[in-house]
Symmetry: C3
Subunit: 346 residues, 3 copies
């Protein structure tokens, strides 16, 4: 798919400078772009790359000096670049609507309009798939599941029974939604399994990363609320609730029954113990280990996680600790010396 530069400028709502007939066949970062591609200058720090880039055209901020190259000037270059990416992306149609003959549908399964169901997909009894949703090859969906409309379910995703998924949700390859929570009743030395009768509810506009696991609740529901984005290899345990528009980076782990507010951000590899609450807008730095509830707006990091400012000072101070130990030893010696002289004087 190619676009004329004039057409791109119109679609991005920007001012065209240069040859309107220039053919653009792709988008790329300013360092990697090649001839025939359009790039953007978002951060003035990369201004020097304007002269060096191999791109045929650049999306520039309105006020930015014109440097002779073809360009489109817009108010928000990064956003315009995102729009340009979507224009080129739209062309990559994954699998056509229709049900592949190797797919296996349970009894009373309800399939919406223009749904695409790839080879070897399995759908359980009474499960509903919303309009325009795409189920890639190898997806396994249990019984009594509801999947909304315009979802993308990538290859080999597993959705267990009774899970409920909203509209425009993206489940990346290998994700597991609704496996049993990790709950046992210990009698003597044996850990007897607590049945996990609850569900998972994933609201609209949620992303779940590749090989991420969202456990079903013991009773009730594990809930991921609208607009939240979860990266790869994340563990969300039973009865956890994650609020709206939150960001969970890769390899995060959240233990059972912990509740997160809206707009929470968890850095990569963060761990959070069970049965606590993180308020709205909480941020946890990468690898942080959260062992206590954090009120709304709190920013914490380190292990055990403490306020980000204190954590920074703590870890800076820790670098000086070996020297401090020696210093205190020397100081003790000096104090002892003085005490001795003091004693002599009496």
């Amino acid at each position: 798919m190619e676009f004329r530069l004039a057409e791109l400028a119109e679609r991005l709502g920007g001012e065209l400078i240069g040859d309107p007939d220039l053919q653009i066949r792709g988008v790329a970062g300013i360092k990697e772009a090649q001839a025939g591609e359009i790039t953007f200058l978002g951060n003035p720090r990369y201004g020097e790359w304007l002269a060096k880039t191999h791109a045929s055209a650049v999306i520039l901020p309105r006020e930015h000096p014109f440097n002779g190259r073809a360009c489109i000037r817009v108010a928000e270059p990064y956003e315009a670049f995102r729009s340009a990416m979507e224009l080129f992306h739209r062309e990559r149609n994954p699998i056509p609507p229709g049900i592949h003959p190797s797919a296996v549908l349970g009894s009373a399964a309800q399939i919406g309009i223009d749904v695409a169901i790839g080879p070897h997909v399995i759908i359980g009894d009474r499960t509903q798939i919303g309009d325009h949703t795409v189920l890639f090859p190898g997806v396994v969906i249990g019984a009594d599941v509801i999947v909304g409309s315009r979802c993308l379910v990538y290859p080999n995703v597993v959705i267990r029974e009774e899970v409920e998924i909203g509209d425009r949700v993206i489940l990346h390859a290998g994700a597991v939604i609704g496996d049993d929570g990790f709950g046992f009743l210990t009698k003597g030395h044996a850990h007897e399994k607590m049945p996990q009768l609850g569900r998972v509810v994933i609201e609209d506009d949620v992303d779940i990363g590749a090989n991420t696991c969202i456990d079903r609740a013991t009773t009730g529901a594990t809930v991921i609320r609208q607009g939240t984005r979860i990266d790869n290899l994340v563990q969300v345990a039973h009865n956890v609730r994650v609020g709206r528009n939150s960001i969970l980076c890769a390899q995060v782990g959240i233990a059972g029954s912990t509740h997160l507010g809206d707009r929470v951000t968890l850095g990569g590899q963060v761990g959070i113990i069970g049965h606590i609450e993180l308020g709205d807008d909480v941020m946890v730095g990468a690898q942080g280990g959260v062992t206590k509830s954090v009120p709304a707006g709190g920013q914490v990091s380190g292990y055990p996680a403490t306020s980000h400012g204190l954590a920074k000072r703590m870890y800076a101070a820790l670098r000086q600790l070996p020297e401090l130990l020696k210093e205190v030893r020397r100081l003790k010696k000096r104090v002892a010396d003085m005490e001795e002289k003091e004693g002599d004087r009496r």
Copy 2:
């Protein structure tokens, strides 16, 4: 599925108080329960919820005051609640016994009585599947594998060749059992692969979490012993041995050839280096990094992991470290001042 309250009371071996004909259709936690459901009061801390819950009936400790609501009084409420969950759970029959026509069985595969094999399951040559075991859709099992009886193998699990699995084992979706251990022989700069000829042995009554990986041994076997429960996204490397009735929480990683005793508990995201031993009943706190062997009964946490008591004091002290640095600086000044006066006096 519904039960009369009288029938529930009888099955749970409890004393019924209230309407014996009350219909109960589900179980739920005391905060989430709705009309028609039964809940339980395990922890007296939640006593206030007795008046607030929407549940139609409550499982109560024997000595607990009767509050007017229908209830079943038992010696062990949590255990009775677990039994109630199992009563309701039993009804969710996943897939019927029989072999789906899309499944592919290798030559000389031996399938037990009442085994359920879902769509698109693949079973290798000479592999044996025990009685009453359920293989969910998309499961791939290699050649010469033994799977015991009454196992549940959830969708898209992979079991590589020559793995041996006991009875009543649950393998959650996406788990990988018997992939190659991570072993290389470095010659110059190249890392040449060491063939991984060993096996994995999983004993009876073990749970393996979703997307967890248990590597095969280089030679010999990686072993998970009877009754051990492993959560999601855990990594168990080649030649590791995990003892009986242990608990490995989510995202734990155990490096090669490390041996764990019986009843070991590892918190979430714990990492353990290779070639060490953790004795019976060892507990490691969440996110701990264990770099040395730990004798039986040891409780450690932090990085590098140290006794839990010391670790707690260490991390509490660390919070005071920035202040301590300043204090020592002030103290040095005071000592220097006194030394100067002392010098003046001579």
Copy 3:
């Protein structure tokens, strides 16, 4: 498969001592080996096991004293043992060349010579599979992918569209190559998805572990260079570059756009933030959290990662910190006492 000891000696280029007609049917570690197996003595520390092992033959260093047992003496016992393992391993042929009838091939897919494609494999349009490559059951490969020759792609691996994979690459079960990078543009509170238009390039002789995820680039490519070995459950984010012959242990996470040099070693559970560089030969200790670029040859550990030597001293000192706090308190008291006497004297 069995070998005569004389044949083994010849193939390993070693000196035979003992019965040339001894039949050897397997290899094992010195502690686990049984009659009929060959083992090796690599590390003199295990010398005592020479008398105890049940192995029928031992691979010994040239200079090592002969102890009466059948043996093969070689210059490099560990390497010879690896060669012996390969001899026995070669016999385990996974699936025969040919395309299983349940596999689904896209239009214009190009399949090389002697390729083995197992049951329920799906291959996208225009995708190329090189000679002698094995695709195990349940593998899903998108459109426009290139897979080189002599690759092993284990069950249920997912390779998304436009990924490029070299020769002799091993992808372990459940790995996901080319899922979307985790990139969003936040407008108000909503996180709008940045299309991820880039690719993944995996060069020759790379291993990717089970359930590991390698994200596709936003634009351009995420690159894993020749000879690098990656363990299980690792997360490699969009636009990351990993150099040649590097080792990434299990559960490592690398955030977006970070570049690693050649021969980098990352211990288990290491986390690395985005947009930094680790030079050639950098080593990061297990669980380390790297927050800044590390120059070539650097060895770092801890959180935030600092030079390995300082980190060791820091964590040793941390154990003494609770005591240090008390000591400084006592010292303050002594100084205050002296200051008071000093004041009295005036």
